[in-house]
Point group: D2
Chain length 178, copies 4
């Protein structure tokens, strides 16, 4: 059965978005690319940094409230429905909840052919790339680099400190079930 | 039954996005806001201006191919699933296919409580706002202003040349079923 | 002597940028458009919300430090030099320092033909537009609407709550010395 | 005499912007960062892809007209004036005119202490990064990678395919005259 969903999990500034866009460029079929940034963009501005929403502390820490979790659950169900309706989807995610985050996606994607990809980048390299991006909030890259992979199971892992985004994408593309 | 989905339909530069963000700001519950721009953003860059994708002509005309339509159908199914999973959703759309576009959404949203809102803006005013936005492609505002409303049925219409975005949003909010 | 610089002064969300882009669209010659946002974008990320830099309080208040002022002075000198070198320049500014801000620009632009334009928008309308923009920080529009005009001398004033950006731009264009 | 201007020259997607932001992050003093993108952003939308303006061909080729050159000359004079007025400035440039482009900057910056830095990235790596950025126009990275360095004289060269942006920035910072 052909792969229907590619889930890329990695910390902030690990290089997921670049891989996602390269995958869209090299795969012969059109794939939709969505991710946690799409979700945050879709939420009310007031949900950022509010009680129950998602908070970004000055040190890069991220806290997630119950109202955020509720919208996120509906969002995940929607992305799964897109795949069931025939779209091939690349999901660009940050598993702040580690294995529990994966479990949430696994349940939603049940019955679909999913390729789970870990996008690794050493904390110090990711921190440098965060600086290179000029992000307003600093520290997310470093604090997320390791934890988001803990207890998460992958079909494939790539390390963006050792290969360009395009090379990582080609490695992932070669792994797709057809 | 409380309104679960608000569909805003209007041409480019008619002011839908501003109304959508104001609705998110004034409604007490958190609503997700998605739209055709979210979909285009999620598509491969190559789908823009390619055969089968979406094309933006120099005169502002937009053509949509079969591959775009297929991804769009899956996208619409996904947005409907988000609403069924409990998220309240504002959809910011341009019904290039007029009544046929509305029919596609109606089928996908069957069983959900939907408020259909027409966002009107006279062609010449929308054209001026397109200029004010500094868009790369000109002419979409004018060419879409009238056609996107033809044959479309609304619960409510607002005219952004006669009221600010916030006032339009408040008028829509007052109309929501609770 | 033909107008060489147009200075648009108004509070956040008063509509300066839209007018600036419309002016670029309707004026027969190519004009450069720069502004305080260009300057902030050019500064180190760390200058935002740091001692000596520019701070945006949660209530929309803006504080400006000595290091910001020093870079700003050099920036203003540079913009004046662009105009002296032959570029026609539209400056999109927020005179947080009121008459004192105007004095700084007047000194830098000495000898150049300048059109001073006040971009007015009632506080409550600007606040609604800030909401429509989905800005992260709220309150700037309201707190800046009146103060930025205090003691400032204009050749022309426009009110964006009573006219579209394009109409304001046409009114300004008609006032240019040739 | 302390370095007043750092000029980074390299092709599209070579990594100049990342280095520029890292320099702003690691240098103790606040430096302004401007570049050809700032200039293009400041120009009328109509100057992009028009006679006399700047044109981006479908194959990534860039053509520059006389009106663009005139505004660019004024822009360069303005950036030089910012440095003379005391701002330390990082310039992020693409020398499409090769040695002639450098000559234009050299004349404008006469008397200032300038560090000339070549930002190298092999054409195939830059092309992959262009894909990873999801740029609308493809081919610029590859077509510019080599030519922009021809006949240009540098104080220092870095290769972003062999070192992270931050490491390149640290190498440049170590070279600054104090």
């Amino acid at each position: 059965m052909a792969t229907q969903v590619i889930v890329l999990n990695g910390g902030s500034s690990s290089g997921k978005s670049g891989i996602s866009r390269c995958l869209q460029g090299v795969l012969p079929e059109p794939w939709l690319a969505v991710g946690v940034d799409t979700l945050i963009e879709a939420m009310p501005a007031s949900m950022r940094e509010s009680d129950g929403g998602i908070g970004f502390a000055a040190d890069g820490g991220v806290s997630v409230g119950t109202r955020f979790r509720a919208l996120e659950a509906a969002w995940i169900a929607g992305v799964a429905a897109m795949a069931r309706a025939g779209a091939q989807v690349i999901v660009d995610e940050v598993f702040l909840g580690r294995a529990e985050s994966q479990r949430r996606w696994e349940q939603a994607l049940a019955g679909l052919e999913v390729l789970w990809v870990g996008v690794r980048c050493p904390a110090e390299v990711a921190a440098g790339r965060e600086l290179a991006r000029g992000d307003r909030i600093r520290g997310m890259a470093e604090s997320q680099a390791e934890p988001v992979h803990q207890g998460v199971r992958y079909d494939l892992e790539v390390d963006t400190s050792r290969a360009e985004s395009l090379d990582c994408a080609l490695k992932i593309a070669a792994q797709l079930a057809r």
